[in-house]
Symmetry: C2
Subunit: 314 residues, 2 copies
């Protein structure tokens, strides 16, 4: 069976890149030129962030396999923000990119079904089945256990989609819960290790031709030691790795997220690419060129550490 | 300082009710009469669920202090669903109801800020600050630790809003993570107990005149033994208690969620009220009357167990 991970690896090979570009629009940080065109009603903010995203996508679509819009930054602008989100998803797919929605959704079974139908599945309206957000993959929070995951697995298998379950997140206080010491079957583990075992189990019926399952894991670039442990606990799991760049994750920090086949990790950066023009030799009007340059540089940085470890797959 | 919990208790006293009516619209279950009027485009589905909600609100607004729309059931219908959500929130507030959004949002700090601004705070557009969803309180997932909570606390204090943090959820597999055995400062706890201690701590600077904080907890009606423990660990925390009715929670199961002052728990029911007409002597066209009757009955059931325990506060 060809699954989401197979499609992802195909795109990674084609682009020779393990990078996913986050699209986290922030009206405050948009180039003045765009703000001037559109003004500051919510409607015009929606139009401005849509145009900003189109420019970023045009600048990077030939360099990376995937984009990762974070829906919080669209929800922030209400209806007009959600419209911008849907347009961004469509445009990204049109340009051949895999779209991973960062939404961290979670709920009990019946409600998780509604989320899954909306984001990766189809919504039933009498005899019709309608796609709504129609992204390729979505991030999911595991705190509610299997009930909150299983409805997504149905759509994952039916529509060849993917999910990425939060295991060890990139933020400093991820330790509050995720690093707690657990007694599990008479042994001592960290909570993130127990979640990793569950993720491996949840993915076990969705293995693709590549050997990777459709149930991925979110593992922060800021915790390389934990990543090493998690890589062993979830050998067939694709990692989505946030925290690179603005959050402090470095090339040598993410190497542990890869498998020996040179795959298994998709490294995400948002701010350091979207707003590269704020800290560079570029003018504000050259924000797209700045994003392209930052993406090329990030591709090279990651390629270099993979080469050093002799696991560059191309 | 008058906080969210004070406003909630004032409304509870006025209505003599500890019930919150969930508004979880499902197009499949709507009365045929409404479906016939509107048809099955997404736009018409949005209109139908808005009208359905208006009828339910009209039927119960004098009986309960609050409503709890679950945003998944609106997101499911895309832009038109979100429009219906915003209209429902506005109408509920116009009818004097406190609106608790069930969204279970969570993310790292900068992203949690975006969610908080959108749902309970204000979004900055140059010099203006604009409310977007503008609910009175929202449910939050704690898996990312304090970073994901603190941005909400800012808006909680600034705008007298509330949050309810997931502690022990009502679904069967909530045990997968929440019931794990933790070693914490040389003692053994359940994960939900550790989260309860964090919730108590996160709320400590938001105590109101009533003694309750603005940081509430979600504690499922389906776990009365756990509720007893959690009530002691979080004496100043208001509980939002889902799982009553359709999920199996009974009046005698929720009594442990209350404090000895007869407050401290808001019992939620959605399906058993929204779709009361499906299992009753009422005709489909009398869905609002059926919802009203189910709400009156639920108020009575809860009043009865509080009376038995001598903690009915009116």
């Amino acid at each position: 069976m060809k699954n989401f991970a197979d499609n992802l690896i195909e795109a990674i090979k084609k682009k020779k890149s393990h990078v996913v570009v986050g699209l986290d629009p922030d009206y405050d940080k948009l180039p003045q030129s765009l703000k001037k065109v559109y003004g500051v009603s919510l409607k015009s903010v929606g139009a401005a962030i849509t145009e900003f995203n189109y420019h970023i996508i045009n600048a990077v679509y030939d360099l990376v396999p995937a984009i990762k819009p974070q829906i919080a930054f669209y929800e922030r602008y209400g209806i007009e923000g959600i419209k911008a989100f849907i347009r961004t998803v469509r445009y990204g797919k049109k340009k051949g990119l895999i779209v991973i929605e960062d939404a961290k959704r979670n709920d009990i079974g019946s409600t998780a079904t509604a989320y899954s139908e909306a984001h990766i599945g189809r919504v039933k309206l009498n005899a019709r089945e309608v796609p709504i957000y129609d992204v390729d993959a979505i991030t999911i929070n595991p705190y509610l256990g299997a009930d909150g995951i299983i409805p997504f697995l149905h759509d994952v298998n039916r529509y060849h989609k993917g999910i990425f379950v939060l295991v060890k997140t990139s933020n400093p206080s991820s330790s509050d819960l995720q690093d707690l010491d657990i007694i599990y079957k008479h042994n001592r583990y960290k909570l993130y290790e127990v979640v990793a075992r569950l993720v491996d189990e949840w993915g076990s019926h969705s293995e693709g031709n590549s050997g990777y399952t459709s149930v991925g894991a979110v593992v922060g670039a800021t915790f390389p030691k934990e990543a090493e442990i998690l890589r062993k606990l979830m050998p067939r799991t694709y990692f989505l790795v946030p925290g690179y760049g603005a959050q402090g994750g470095k090339p040598e920090d993410v190497i542990n997220c890869f498998n020996q086949d040179g795959y298994g990790a998709l490294i995400a950066a948002s701010r350091s690419i979207n707003y590269a023009f704020l800290n560079s030799k570029y003018k504000e009007s050259e924000f797209a060129e700045a994003a392209r340059y930052a993406t090329i540089k990030m591709n090279q940085e990651i390629e270099e550490v993979l080469k050093e470890k002799n696991i560059l797959p191309w």
